[in-house]
Protein backbone atom coordinates (compact mmCIF):
# COMPACT_ATOMS: atom_id res chain seq x y z
CA UNK A 1 0.00 0.00 0.00
CA UNK A 2 2.64 2.43 1.09
CA UNK A 3 4.99 1.50 -1.68
CA UNK A 4 2.26 2.06 -4.19
CA UNK A 5 1.55 5.47 -2.76
CA UNK A 6 5.22 6.30 -2.92
CA UNK A 7 5.36 5.26 -6.53
CA UNK A 8 2.32 7.36 -7.32
CA UNK A 9 3.87 10.38 -5.68
CA UNK A 10 7.06 9.96 -7.56
CA UNK A 11 5.12 9.62 -10.80
CA UNK A 12 3.35 12.87 -10.03
CA UNK A 13 6.69 14.43 -9.26
CA UNK A 14 8.07 13.27 -12.56
CA UNK A 15 5.15 14.69 -14.43
CA UNK A 16 5.57 18.00 -12.67
CA UNK A 17 9.25 18.10 -13.47
CA UNK A 18 8.65 17.23 -17.07
CA UNK A 19 6.05 19.97 -17.43
CA UNK A 20 8.39 22.52 -15.82
CA UNK A 21 11.04 21.54 -18.29
CA UNK A 22 8.71 21.85 -21.27
CA UNK A 23 7.48 25.18 -19.97
CA UNK A 24 11.00 26.45 -19.50
CA UNK A 25 12.00 25.49 -23.01
CA UNK A 26 8.87 27.04 -24.50
CA UNK A 27 9.22 30.31 -22.64
CA UNK A 28 12.91 30.68 -23.31
CA UNK A 29 12.41 29.82 -26.95
CA UNK A 30 9.58 32.26 -27.49
CA UNK A 31 11.34 34.99 -25.51
CA UNK A 32 14.27 34.48 -27.81
CA UNK A 33 12.02 34.89 -30.84
CA UNK A 34 10.84 38.22 -29.45
CA UNK A 35 14.18 39.55 -28.32
CA UNK A 36 16.14 38.26 -31.32
CA UNK A 37 15.45 41.21 -33.68
CA UNK A 38 16.46 43.69 -30.99
CA UNK A 39 19.66 41.84 -30.23
CA UNK A 40 20.39 41.64 -33.89
CA UNK A 41 19.87 45.35 -34.33
CA UNK A 42 22.20 46.11 -31.46
CA UNK A 43 24.80 43.82 -32.92
CA UNK A 44 24.41 45.41 -36.35
CA UNK A 45 24.50 48.92 -34.99
CA UNK A 46 27.87 48.58 -33.34
CA UNK A 47 29.48 46.82 -36.29
CA UNK A 48 31.89 48.43 -38.68
CA UNK A 49 31.21 48.35 -42.40
CA UNK A 50 34.01 45.81 -42.97
CA UNK A 51 32.49 43.35 -40.56
CA UNK A 52 29.37 43.11 -42.66
CA UNK A 53 31.20 40.97 -45.19
CA UNK A 54 33.45 39.15 -42.83
CA UNK A 55 32.33 35.52 -42.65
CA UNK A 56 33.58 35.06 -39.12
CA UNK A 57 31.51 37.89 -37.64
CA UNK A 58 27.98 36.94 -36.73
CA UNK A 59 27.10 38.53 -33.41
CA UNK A 60 30.11 40.17 -31.86
CA UNK A 61 31.85 42.64 -34.17
CA UNK A 62 35.54 42.54 -34.80
CA UNK A 63 35.78 46.27 -35.40
CA UNK A 64 33.66 48.00 -32.84
CA UNK A 65 32.39 51.42 -33.92
CA UNK A 66 29.74 54.02 -33.16
CA UNK A 67 29.79 55.44 -36.67
CA UNK A 68 26.36 54.04 -37.51
CA UNK A 69 24.84 55.85 -34.58
CA UNK A 70 26.51 59.10 -35.60
CA UNK A 71 25.32 58.66 -39.16
CA UNK A 72 21.73 57.84 -38.19
CA UNK A 73 21.52 60.64 -35.63
CA UNK A 74 22.79 63.05 -38.23
CA UNK A 75 20.46 62.03 -41.02
CA UNK A 76 17.36 61.68 -38.90
CA UNK A 77 18.07 64.90 -37.06
CA UNK A 78 17.49 62.68 -34.08
CA UNK A 79 17.40 65.15 -31.20
CA UNK A 80 14.90 67.46 -32.90
CA UNK A 81 12.78 64.50 -33.93
CA UNK A 82 12.92 63.13 -30.41
CA UNK A 83 11.78 66.44 -28.93
CA UNK A 84 8.96 66.85 -31.45
CA UNK A 85 7.74 63.28 -31.14
CA UNK A 86 7.81 63.40 -27.39
CA UNK A 87 5.88 66.65 -27.36
CA UNK A 88 3.32 65.41 -29.86
CA UNK A 89 2.81 62.06 -28.15
CA UNK A 90 2.62 63.55 -24.66
CA UNK A 91 0.12 66.18 -25.76
CA UNK A 92 -2.21 63.81 -27.59
CA UNK A 93 -1.92 61.28 -24.78
CA UNK A 94 -2.96 63.70 -22.06
CA UNK A 95 -5.81 65.18 -24.06
CA UNK A 96 -7.03 61.79 -25.25
CA UNK A 97 -6.94 60.28 -21.77
CA UNK A 98 -8.95 63.17 -20.30
CA UNK A 99 -11.58 63.35 -23.02
CA UNK A 100 -11.96 59.59 -23.14
CA UNK A 101 -12.28 59.39 -19.35
CA UNK A 102 -15.05 61.99 -19.48
CA UNK A 103 -16.88 60.20 -22.27
CA UNK A 104 -16.35 56.81 -20.64
CA UNK A 105 -17.81 58.02 -17.36
CA UNK A 106 -20.71 59.64 -19.16
CA UNK A 107 -21.52 56.42 -20.97
CA UNK A 108 -21.02 54.20 -17.94
CA UNK A 109 -22.82 56.01 -15.17
CA UNK A 110 -24.70 59.08 -16.35
CA UNK A 111 -27.35 57.59 -18.58
CA UNK A 112 -29.41 59.95 -20.66
CA UNK A 113 -31.87 59.48 -23.45
CA UNK A 114 -30.11 58.03 -26.43
CA UNK A 115 -26.83 57.32 -24.66
CA UNK A 116 -26.95 53.69 -25.69
CA UNK A 117 -27.46 54.73 -29.28
CA UNK A 118 -24.45 57.03 -29.07
CA UNK A 119 -22.40 54.20 -27.63
CA UNK A 120 -23.13 52.25 -30.79
CA UNK A 121 -21.35 55.17 -32.47
CA UNK A 122 -18.30 54.53 -30.29
CA UNK A 123 -18.29 50.87 -31.31
CA UNK A 124 -18.59 51.97 -34.93
CA UNK A 125 -15.47 54.14 -34.62
CA UNK A 126 -13.61 51.06 -33.40
CA UNK A 127 -14.80 48.88 -36.25
CA UNK A 128 -14.48 51.13 -39.29
CA UNK A 129 -10.96 50.94 -40.74
CA UNK A 130 -9.36 54.42 -40.62
CA UNK A 131 -8.61 54.26 -44.35
CA UNK A 132 -12.30 54.49 -45.14
CA UNK A 133 -12.57 58.03 -43.82
CA UNK A 134 -9.02 59.13 -44.55
CA UNK A 135 -9.61 61.14 -47.71
CA UNK A 136 -12.59 63.22 -46.53
CA UNK A 137 -10.80 63.94 -43.26
CA UNK A 138 -7.75 65.01 -45.22
CA UNK A 139 -9.74 67.30 -47.51
CA UNK A 140 -11.69 68.63 -44.57
CA UNK A 141 -8.53 69.56 -42.71
CA UNK A 142 -7.03 71.10 -45.80
CA UNK A 143 -9.93 73.55 -46.04
CA UNK A 144 -11.00 73.73 -42.46
CA UNK A 145 -14.13 75.82 -42.01
CA UNK A 146 -15.72 74.44 -38.84
CA UNK A 147 -19.18 74.45 -40.42
CA UNK A 148 -18.61 77.80 -42.10
CA UNK A 149 -17.63 79.57 -38.88
CA UNK A 150 -14.00 80.33 -39.66
CA UNK A 151 -14.64 82.05 -43.03
CA UNK A 152 -16.89 84.47 -41.17
CA UNK A 153 -14.06 85.44 -38.87
CA UNK A 154 -11.24 85.60 -41.38
CA UNK A 155 -13.23 87.01 -44.23
CA UNK A 156 -14.00 84.16 -46.59
CA UNK A 157 -10.86 82.10 -46.25
CA UNK A 158 -10.64 78.63 -44.88
CA UNK A 159 -7.68 77.53 -42.83
CA UNK A 160 -5.25 74.84 -43.89
CA UNK A 161 -4.61 72.74 -40.82
CA UNK A 162 -2.29 70.27 -42.49
CA UNK A 163 1.32 70.36 -41.40
CA UNK A 164 0.34 71.78 -38.04
CA UNK A 165 -0.36 70.01 -34.79
CA UNK A 166 -3.98 71.15 -34.90
CA UNK A 167 -5.40 67.93 -36.37
CA UNK A 168 -3.91 66.02 -33.47
CA UNK A 169 -5.07 68.53 -30.90
CA UNK A 170 -8.60 68.69 -32.26
CA UNK A 171 -9.08 64.96 -32.65
CA UNK A 172 -7.62 64.12 -29.26
CA UNK A 173 -9.54 66.90 -27.53
CA UNK A 174 -12.74 65.43 -28.92
CA UNK A 175 -11.81 61.83 -28.14
CA UNK A 176 -11.56 60.83 -31.79
CA UNK A 177 -7.84 60.36 -32.18
CA UNK A 178 -6.01 57.14 -32.99
CA UNK A 179 -7.90 54.18 -31.44
CA UNK A 180 -9.82 56.49 -29.10
CA UNK A 181 -12.91 54.29 -29.35
CA UNK A 182 -10.98 51.53 -27.62
CA UNK A 183 -9.97 53.87 -24.79
CA UNK A 184 -13.56 55.03 -24.26
CA UNK A 185 -14.54 51.37 -24.11
CA UNK A 186 -11.85 50.63 -21.51
CA UNK A 187 -12.90 53.57 -19.34
CA UNK A 188 -16.57 52.70 -19.61
CA UNK A 189 -15.95 49.11 -18.53
CA UNK A 190 -13.80 50.31 -15.66
CA UNK A 191 -16.29 52.84 -14.33
CA UNK A 192 -19.08 50.30 -14.55
CA UNK A 193 -17.07 48.11 -12.20
CA UNK A 194 -16.98 50.70 -9.40
CA UNK A 195 -19.87 50.09 -6.97
CA UNK A 196 -22.79 52.51 -7.16
CA UNK A 197 -22.64 53.00 -3.37
CA UNK A 198 -19.44 54.99 -3.73
CA UNK A 199 -21.22 57.55 -5.86
CA UNK A 200 -24.25 57.69 -3.61
CA UNK A 201 -22.11 58.20 -0.53
CA UNK A 202 -20.36 61.09 -2.22
CA UNK A 203 -23.68 62.61 -3.18
CA UNK A 204 -25.04 62.34 0.34
CA UNK A 205 -21.87 63.98 1.64
CA UNK A 206 -22.71 66.93 -0.56
CA UNK A 207 -20.53 66.42 -3.62
CA UNK A 208 -22.09 67.33 -6.94
CA UNK A 209 -21.71 65.13 -9.97
CA UNK A 210 -18.73 67.06 -11.28
CA UNK A 211 -16.99 66.87 -7.95
CA UNK A 212 -17.76 63.18 -7.58
CA UNK A 213 -16.08 62.59 -10.90
CA UNK A 214 -12.93 64.65 -10.28
CA UNK A 215 -12.47 63.80 -6.60
CA UNK A 216 -13.69 60.22 -6.32
CA UNK A 217 -13.94 58.50 -9.66
CA UNK A 218 -10.80 59.78 -11.38
CA UNK A 219 -8.43 58.95 -8.50
CA UNK A 220 -9.98 55.49 -8.44
CA UNK A 221 -9.46 55.11 -12.17
CA UNK A 222 -5.67 55.23 -12.02
CA UNK A 223 -5.19 51.68 -13.38
CA UNK A 224 -7.39 52.42 -16.38
CA UNK A 225 -5.68 55.78 -16.81
CA UNK A 226 -2.29 54.11 -16.81
CA UNK A 227 -3.29 51.55 -19.41
CA UNK A 228 -4.81 54.16 -21.67
CA UNK A 229 -1.91 56.60 -21.40
CA UNK A 230 0.62 53.90 -22.09
CA UNK A 231 -1.23 52.55 -25.12
CA UNK A 232 -1.97 55.97 -26.46
CA UNK A 233 1.59 57.21 -26.03
CA UNK A 234 3.17 54.19 -27.65
CA UNK A 235 0.74 53.98 -30.55
CA UNK A 236 1.04 57.67 -31.25
CA UNK A 237 4.80 57.38 -31.15
CA UNK A 238 4.89 54.57 -33.67
CA UNK A 239 1.99 55.69 -35.80
CA UNK A 240 2.89 56.41 -39.37
CA UNK A 241 -0.59 56.24 -40.82
CA UNK A 242 -2.05 59.48 -39.49
CA UNK A 243 1.25 61.18 -38.90
CA UNK A 244 2.37 60.94 -42.51
CA UNK A 245 -1.06 62.12 -43.65
CA UNK A 246 -1.40 65.13 -41.38
CA UNK A 247 2.24 66.12 -41.23
CA UNK A 248 4.49 65.98 -44.24
CA UNK A 249 7.42 68.14 -43.34
CA UNK A 250 7.59 68.12 -39.56
CA UNK A 251 10.44 66.25 -37.98
CA UNK A 252 8.67 63.47 -36.16
CA UNK A 253 10.18 60.09 -35.43
CA UNK A 254 7.93 57.94 -37.58
CA UNK A 255 8.30 60.25 -40.58
CA UNK A 256 12.05 60.48 -40.16
CA UNK A 257 12.17 56.73 -39.93
CA UNK A 258 10.08 56.10 -43.02
CA UNK A 259 12.08 58.58 -45.07
CA UNK A 260 15.39 57.41 -43.70
CA UNK A 261 16.27 55.10 -46.61
CA UNK A 262 15.64 57.88 -49.10
CA UNK A 263 17.54 60.51 -47.14
CA UNK A 264 20.35 58.08 -46.62
CA UNK A 265 20.87 57.31 -50.28
CA UNK A 266 20.72 61.02 -50.95
CA UNK A 267 23.28 61.72 -48.30
CA UNK A 268 25.67 58.96 -49.28
CA UNK A 269 25.99 59.73 -52.95
CA UNK A 270 24.02 62.85 -53.76
CA UNK A 271 21.21 61.33 -55.71
CA UNK A 272 18.29 58.97 -55.63
CA UNK A 273 19.76 56.60 -58.20
CA UNK A 274 22.75 56.08 -56.02
CA UNK A 275 25.07 53.16 -56.14
CA UNK A 276 25.47 53.14 -52.40
CA UNK A 277 25.90 49.73 -50.88
CA UNK A 278 22.39 48.48 -50.01
CA UNK A 279 23.69 46.46 -47.10
CA UNK A 280 25.34 49.45 -45.58
CA UNK A 281 22.12 51.42 -46.00
CA UNK A 282 20.17 48.69 -44.33
CA UNK A 283 22.69 48.76 -41.52
CA UNK A 284 22.15 52.45 -40.87
CA UNK A 285 18.40 51.94 -41.12
CA UNK A 286 18.54 49.27 -38.44
CA UNK A 287 20.45 51.67 -36.26
CA UNK A 288 17.75 54.27 -36.90
CA UNK A 289 15.01 51.87 -35.81
CA UNK A 290 16.98 51.06 -32.70
CA UNK A 291 17.33 54.75 -31.89
CA UNK A 292 13.62 55.33 -32.44
CA UNK A 293 12.47 52.58 -30.09
CA UNK A 294 15.13 53.18 -27.46
CA UNK A 295 13.09 55.80 -25.53
CA UNK A 296 10.08 53.48 -25.58
CA UNK A 297 12.09 50.58 -24.21
CA UNK A 298 13.51 52.75 -21.45
CA UNK A 299 10.03 53.94 -20.55
CA UNK A 300 8.69 50.40 -20.67
CA UNK A 301 11.29 49.16 -18.21
CA UNK A 302 9.95 51.63 -15.66
CA UNK A 303 6.24 51.13 -16.13
CA UNK A 304 5.91 47.45 -17.07
CA UNK A 305 5.25 46.51 -13.45
CA UNK A 306 2.02 48.49 -13.49
CA UNK A 307 1.06 47.26 -16.89
CA UNK A 308 -0.53 43.91 -16.09
CA UNK A 309 -1.99 45.25 -12.89
CA UNK A 310 -3.55 48.12 -14.80
CA UNK A 311 -5.19 45.91 -17.38
CA UNK A 312 -6.37 43.54 -14.69
CA UNK A 313 -8.26 46.27 -12.96
CA UNK A 314 -9.59 48.03 -16.02
CA UNK A 315 -12.39 45.51 -16.02
CA UNK A 316 -12.33 44.81 -19.75
CA UNK A 317 -12.78 41.39 -18.39
CA UNK A 318 -15.84 41.62 -16.23
Amino acid sequence: MRARAMRLISLELWKKWLWSLVRLVLIIGLSFVIVYPILQKISTAIKDKVDLYSPIVIWIPQHFTLDNFRQAIDIMDYWAALRNTFGLSAMTTILTALSCALAGYGFARLKFKGSNLLFVGVVLTILVPPTTILIPVYLNLKDFTLMGLIPLLTGGKSVNLLNTYWPFILTSLTANSLKAGLYIFIFRQFFRGIPKEVEEAAYIDGAGIGKTFTRIMLPNAIPAMLTVTLFSFVWQWNDSFFTTTYLTTAKVMSIQLSSLPYNLSFFLSDGVNSKADPFYMSMVQDTGILLAILPLILMYIFVQRYFVEGIERTGIVG
Binding site: R23, L30, V33, I34, P37, T44, L52, P55, I58, S99, L102, A103, Y105, G106, F107, L110, K111, F112, G121, T125, I126, L127, V128, P129, T131, T132, I133, L134, I135, V137, L139, N140, D143, T171, T174, G208, G210, V234, W235, N238, D239, S240, F241, S254, L257, S258, P278, F279, M281, M283, I289, I297, Y300, Q304, R305, I311, E312, I316, V317, G318
Partner: protein
Protein backbone atom coordinates in the same frame (compact mmCIF):
# COMPACT_ATOMS: atom_id res chain seq x y z
CA UNK B 1 -20.87 77.73 -16.79
CA UNK B 2 -21.82 74.73 -14.76
CA UNK B 3 -22.55 76.78 -11.69
CA UNK B 4 -24.70 79.12 -13.74
CA UNK B 5 -26.66 76.21 -15.11
CA UNK B 6 -27.30 74.87 -11.66
CA UNK B 7 -28.25 78.22 -10.17
CA UNK B 8 -30.81 78.70 -12.88
CA UNK B 9 -33.27 76.21 -11.47
CA UNK B 10 -31.71 74.69 -8.40
CA UNK B 11 -34.85 73.23 -6.96
CA UNK B 12 -36.44 71.90 -10.10
CA UNK B 13 -33.83 69.33 -10.96
CA UNK B 14 -33.85 65.93 -9.37
CA UNK B 15 -30.64 64.00 -8.93
CA UNK B 16 -31.52 61.73 -11.84
CA UNK B 17 -32.23 64.67 -14.12
CA UNK B 18 -28.98 66.31 -13.18
CA UNK B 19 -27.21 63.05 -13.85
CA UNK B 20 -28.56 62.76 -17.34
CA UNK B 21 -27.72 66.41 -18.05
CA UNK B 22 -24.15 65.88 -16.87
CA UNK B 23 -23.97 62.67 -18.80
CA UNK B 24 -24.78 64.53 -21.96
CA UNK B 25 -22.29 67.29 -21.09
CA UNK B 26 -19.55 64.71 -20.54
CA UNK B 27 -20.25 63.02 -23.82
CA UNK B 28 -20.51 66.25 -25.82
CA UNK B 29 -16.78 66.58 -26.64
CA UNK B 30 -16.77 63.09 -28.05
CA UNK B 31 -20.03 63.73 -29.87
CA UNK B 32 -18.63 66.81 -31.59
CA UNK B 33 -15.55 64.93 -32.67
CA UNK B 34 -17.67 62.01 -33.77
CA UNK B 35 -19.80 64.25 -35.98
CA UNK B 36 -16.91 66.26 -37.42
CA UNK B 37 -14.15 63.71 -37.70
CA UNK B 38 -16.04 60.50 -38.16
CA UNK B 39 -19.64 60.62 -39.30
CA UNK B 40 -19.34 63.50 -41.74
CA UNK B 41 -16.20 62.05 -43.38
CA UNK B 42 -17.82 58.61 -43.47
CA UNK B 43 -20.82 59.95 -45.38
CA UNK B 44 -18.62 62.07 -47.63
CA UNK B 45 -16.54 59.05 -48.43
CA UNK B 46 -19.69 57.13 -49.31
CA UNK B 47 -20.73 59.99 -51.61
CA UNK B 48 -17.29 60.10 -53.22
CA UNK B 49 -17.40 56.40 -53.92
CA UNK B 50 -20.39 56.99 -56.18
CA UNK B 51 -18.95 60.02 -57.93
CA UNK B 52 -16.15 61.24 -60.12
CA UNK B 53 -14.09 63.48 -57.89
CA UNK B 54 -11.96 66.23 -59.33
CA UNK B 55 -9.73 68.35 -57.17
CA UNK B 56 -8.45 71.67 -58.44
CA UNK B 57 -7.48 75.00 -56.99
CA UNK B 58 -11.09 75.91 -56.18
CA UNK B 59 -11.58 72.85 -54.09
CA UNK B 60 -13.20 69.49 -54.62
CA UNK B 61 -16.12 68.85 -56.88
CA UNK B 62 -17.93 65.54 -57.04
CA UNK B 63 -20.32 64.59 -59.81
CA UNK B 64 -22.51 61.54 -59.53
CA UNK B 65 -21.24 58.58 -61.53
CA UNK B 66 -23.18 55.59 -60.28
CA UNK B 67 -21.29 52.36 -59.78
CA UNK B 68 -18.43 53.32 -62.08
CA UNK B 69 -15.82 53.39 -59.31
CA UNK B 70 -16.88 50.05 -57.91
CA UNK B 71 -16.77 48.49 -61.34
CA UNK B 72 -13.35 49.95 -61.93
CA UNK B 73 -12.03 48.66 -58.61
CA UNK B 74 -13.33 45.14 -59.16
CA UNK B 75 -12.74 44.69 -62.87
CA UNK B 76 -10.23 47.23 -64.19
CA UNK B 77 -7.76 47.86 -61.40
CA UNK B 78 -4.95 45.35 -61.67
CA UNK B 79 -4.08 44.85 -58.03
CA UNK B 80 -7.27 45.43 -56.06
CA UNK B 81 -8.75 41.93 -56.26
CA UNK B 82 -5.47 40.24 -55.54
CA UNK B 83 -4.61 42.45 -52.57
CA UNK B 84 -8.11 42.15 -51.16
CA UNK B 85 -8.16 38.35 -51.29
CA UNK B 86 -4.64 38.21 -49.88
CA UNK B 87 -5.51 40.39 -46.91
CA UNK B 88 -8.69 38.43 -46.24
CA UNK B 89 -6.84 35.12 -46.36
CA UNK B 90 -4.23 36.61 -44.06
CA UNK B 91 -6.90 37.58 -41.55
CA UNK B 92 -8.71 34.25 -41.70
CA UNK B 93 -5.47 32.31 -41.28
CA UNK B 94 -3.92 34.50 -38.61
CA UNK B 95 -6.79 35.24 -36.26
CA UNK B 96 -7.36 31.71 -34.92
CA UNK B 97 -3.62 31.22 -34.60
CA UNK B 98 -3.14 34.43 -32.65
CA UNK B 99 -6.09 33.82 -30.34
CA UNK B 100 -5.16 30.22 -29.53
CA UNK B 101 -1.53 31.10 -29.11
CA UNK B 102 -2.26 34.00 -26.78
CA UNK B 103 -4.63 31.93 -24.65
CA UNK B 104 -1.99 29.24 -24.33
CA UNK B 105 0.67 31.75 -23.38
CA UNK B 106 -1.61 33.51 -20.91
CA UNK B 107 -2.20 30.18 -19.14
CA UNK B 108 1.53 29.57 -19.16
CA UNK B 109 2.40 33.01 -17.82
CA UNK B 110 -0.19 32.67 -15.09
CA UNK B 111 1.58 29.69 -13.53
CA UNK B 112 4.17 30.20 -10.88
CA UNK B 113 7.75 29.74 -11.94
CA UNK B 114 11.10 31.41 -11.44
CA UNK B 115 11.54 34.47 -13.64
CA UNK B 116 7.86 34.94 -14.28
CA UNK B 117 8.07 38.73 -14.03
CA UNK B 118 10.89 38.84 -16.54
CA UNK B 119 9.03 36.51 -18.91
CA UNK B 120 5.93 38.66 -18.71
CA UNK B 121 7.92 41.80 -19.39
CA UNK B 122 9.39 40.20 -22.51
CA UNK B 123 6.07 38.90 -23.81
CA UNK B 124 4.42 42.31 -23.61
CA UNK B 125 7.33 43.94 -25.40
CA UNK B 126 5.66 43.41 -28.81
CA UNK B 127 2.81 45.68 -27.69
CA UNK B 128 5.35 48.45 -27.83
CA UNK B 129 7.63 47.39 -30.63
CA UNK B 130 5.49 45.70 -33.21
CA UNK B 131 3.30 48.54 -34.28
CA UNK B 132 3.24 51.10 -37.02
CA UNK B 133 6.34 52.04 -38.91
CA UNK B 134 8.73 49.77 -37.06
CA UNK B 135 6.93 46.63 -38.13
CA UNK B 136 6.83 47.65 -41.76
CA UNK B 137 10.50 48.57 -41.85
CA UNK B 138 11.55 45.47 -40.01
CA UNK B 139 10.28 43.18 -42.71
CA UNK B 140 12.57 44.80 -45.25
CA UNK B 141 15.80 44.60 -43.29
CA UNK B 142 18.54 43.33 -45.53
CA UNK B 143 21.12 42.90 -42.82
CA UNK B 144 18.81 40.54 -41.01
CA UNK B 145 18.39 38.48 -44.15
CA UNK B 146 22.08 38.24 -44.79
CA UNK B 147 22.79 37.43 -41.16
CA UNK B 148 20.26 34.66 -41.19
CA UNK B 149 21.89 33.25 -44.28
CA UNK B 150 25.31 33.51 -42.70
CA UNK B 151 24.26 31.79 -39.56
CA UNK B 152 22.59 29.06 -41.55
CA UNK B 153 19.37 29.91 -39.79
CA UNK B 154 17.18 29.68 -42.86
CA UNK B 155 18.33 26.24 -43.85
CA UNK B 156 17.99 25.12 -40.28
CA UNK B 157 14.46 26.52 -40.08
CA UNK B 158 13.37 24.94 -43.31
CA UNK B 159 14.80 21.63 -42.28
CA UNK B 160 13.04 21.77 -38.95
CA UNK B 161 9.55 22.32 -40.27
CA UNK B 162 10.24 19.87 -43.09
CA UNK B 163 10.99 17.15 -40.57
CA UNK B 164 7.93 18.10 -38.60
CA UNK B 165 5.80 17.97 -41.71
CA UNK B 166 6.96 14.50 -42.60
CA UNK B 167 6.44 13.26 -39.11
CA UNK B 168 2.87 14.49 -38.96
CA UNK B 169 2.03 13.27 -42.44
CA UNK B 170 3.30 9.83 -41.55
CA UNK B 171 1.20 9.92 -38.41
CA UNK B 172 -1.79 10.11 -40.72
CA UNK B 173 -2.89 13.73 -40.33
CA UNK B 174 -4.62 15.45 -43.17
CA UNK B 175 -2.38 17.46 -45.43
CA UNK B 176 -4.14 20.78 -45.11
CA UNK B 177 -3.91 20.74 -41.32
CA UNK B 178 -0.24 19.86 -41.51
CA UNK B 179 0.40 22.70 -43.92
CA UNK B 180 -1.45 25.11 -41.67
CA UNK B 181 0.53 24.09 -38.61
CA UNK B 182 3.92 24.19 -40.29
CA UNK B 183 3.19 27.57 -41.81
CA UNK B 184 2.29 28.72 -38.30
CA UNK B 185 5.65 27.52 -37.04
CA UNK B 186 7.40 29.36 -39.84
CA UNK B 187 5.55 32.57 -39.09
CA UNK B 188 6.05 32.38 -35.37
CA UNK B 189 7.53 35.86 -35.12
CA UNK B 190 4.54 37.43 -36.84
CA UNK B 191 2.14 35.58 -34.56
CA UNK B 192 4.07 36.37 -31.39
CA UNK B 193 4.44 40.02 -32.26
CA UNK B 194 0.73 40.45 -32.89
CA UNK B 195 -0.49 38.79 -29.72
CA UNK B 196 0.79 41.13 -27.00
CA UNK B 197 -2.48 42.84 -26.14
CA UNK B 198 -4.42 39.61 -26.45
CA UNK B 199 -2.15 37.88 -23.94
CA UNK B 200 -2.71 40.77 -21.55
CA UNK B 201 -6.49 40.53 -21.86
CA UNK B 202 -6.53 36.75 -21.37
CA UNK B 203 -4.13 36.97 -18.45
CA UNK B 204 -6.33 39.53 -16.75
CA UNK B 205 -9.36 37.30 -17.37
CA UNK B 206 -7.70 34.19 -15.94
CA UNK B 207 -6.75 36.08 -12.81
CA UNK B 208 -10.36 36.95 -12.07
CA UNK B 209 -11.37 33.27 -11.89
CA UNK B 210 -11.81 32.41 -8.25
CA UNK B 211 -9.20 29.96 -6.93
CA UNK B 212 -11.91 28.02 -5.08
CA UNK B 213 -13.03 26.51 -8.36
CA UNK B 214 -9.59 25.07 -8.95
CA UNK B 215 -9.27 23.87 -5.37
CA UNK B 216 -12.61 22.10 -5.54
CA UNK B 217 -11.76 20.46 -8.83
CA UNK B 218 -8.42 19.31 -7.46
CA UNK B 219 -10.18 17.74 -4.49
CA UNK B 220 -12.42 15.86 -6.88
CA UNK B 221 -9.33 14.57 -8.64
CA UNK B 222 -9.27 16.64 -11.81
CA UNK B 223 -6.00 16.85 -13.66
CA UNK B 224 -4.54 20.14 -14.84
CA UNK B 225 -5.66 19.31 -18.36
CA UNK B 226 -9.24 18.76 -17.26
CA UNK B 227 -9.18 21.88 -15.12
CA UNK B 228 -8.19 23.90 -18.16
CA UNK B 229 -10.99 22.63 -20.40
CA UNK B 230 -13.68 22.52 -17.72
CA UNK B 231 -12.86 25.71 -15.79
CA UNK B 232 -10.42 28.06 -17.46
CA UNK B 233 -11.73 27.74 -20.98
CA UNK B 234 -15.44 28.36 -20.26
CA UNK B 235 -14.60 31.17 -17.87
CA UNK B 236 -12.50 33.06 -20.39
CA UNK B 237 -14.75 32.28 -23.35
CA UNK B 238 -16.32 35.78 -23.39
CA UNK B 239 -12.82 37.12 -23.78
CA UNK B 240 -12.24 34.90 -26.78
CA UNK B 241 -14.92 36.93 -28.49
CA UNK B 242 -13.28 40.19 -27.37
CA UNK B 243 -9.90 39.02 -28.59
CA UNK B 244 -11.17 37.78 -31.94
CA UNK B 245 -12.80 41.14 -32.58
CA UNK B 246 -9.71 42.99 -31.41
CA UNK B 247 -7.39 40.88 -33.54
CA UNK B 248 -9.49 41.39 -36.66
CA UNK B 249 -9.75 45.14 -36.10
CA UNK B 250 -6.06 45.35 -35.35
CA UNK B 251 -5.02 43.44 -38.45
CA UNK B 252 -7.27 45.37 -40.83
CA UNK B 253 -6.18 48.82 -39.71
CA UNK B 254 -2.79 48.73 -41.41
CA UNK B 255 -1.92 46.23 -44.14
CA UNK B 256 -1.28 46.00 -47.87
CA UNK B 257 -4.90 46.85 -48.60
CA UNK B 258 -4.82 50.15 -46.72
CA UNK B 259 -1.57 51.03 -48.47
CA UNK B 260 -3.20 50.44 -51.83
CA UNK B 261 -6.20 52.56 -50.89
CA UNK B 262 -3.99 55.37 -49.72
CA UNK B 263 -1.76 55.27 -52.76
CA UNK B 264 -4.78 55.40 -55.06
CA UNK B 265 -5.98 58.44 -53.20
CA UNK B 266 -2.81 60.41 -52.64
CA UNK B 267 -0.45 59.31 -55.37
CA UNK B 268 -2.77 58.98 -58.35
CA UNK B 269 -5.32 61.42 -56.88
CA UNK B 270 -8.26 59.22 -57.79
CA UNK B 271 -10.34 60.00 -54.72
CA UNK B 272 -13.50 58.39 -56.09
CA UNK B 273 -11.85 55.06 -56.84
CA UNK B 274 -10.01 55.12 -53.54
CA UNK B 275 -13.26 55.69 -51.61
CA UNK B 276 -14.96 52.89 -53.51
CA UNK B 277 -12.10 50.54 -52.63
CA UNK B 278 -12.26 51.61 -49.00
CA UNK B 279 -15.98 50.91 -48.86
CA UNK B 280 -15.70 47.48 -50.46
CA UNK B 281 -12.96 46.73 -47.95
CA UNK B 282 -15.06 47.99 -45.05
CA UNK B 283 -18.07 45.90 -46.08
CA UNK B 284 -15.93 42.78 -46.36
CA UNK B 285 -14.37 43.40 -42.95
CA UNK B 286 -17.77 44.03 -41.41
CA UNK B 287 -19.00 40.73 -42.85
CA UNK B 288 -16.04 38.85 -41.39
CA UNK B 289 -16.61 40.50 -38.02
CA UNK B 290 -20.33 39.76 -38.06
CA UNK B 291 -19.91 36.11 -39.03
CA UNK B 292 -17.14 35.39 -36.56
CA UNK B 293 -18.83 37.13 -33.64
CA UNK B 294 -22.12 35.37 -34.42
CA UNK B 295 -20.46 31.96 -34.50
CA UNK B 296 -18.48 32.56 -31.33
CA UNK B 297 -21.16 34.28 -29.29
CA UNK B 298 -23.40 31.23 -29.70
CA UNK B 299 -20.86 29.15 -27.83
CA UNK B 300 -19.76 31.63 -25.22
CA UNK B 301 -20.45 30.74 -21.62
CA UNK B 302 -21.52 33.55 -19.27
CA UNK B 303 -21.03 33.00 -15.57
CA UNK B 304 -24.06 34.98 -14.39
Amino acid sequence: MRAALLKLKPSLRTYAEKKSLYGFLYVVPWLLGFLFFFLAPLLTSLRYSFSTVTANSDGVTASFAGFKNFKEALTVNTSFNRVLTESIIDIVVNVPLIVIFSLFLAVLLNQKFIGRTAARAIFFLPVILASGIILSLESTSLVQAINDANAGATTFNALQSFELENMMLEAGMSESIVNYLTSAVNRIYQVVSQSGVQILIFLAGIQTISPQLYEASKMEGATGYEAFWKITFPMVSPLILVNVVYTIVDSVSVNAMTDLIRDTGFKSFNFGLSSAMAWIYFVVVALILAISSYVISKRVFYYE
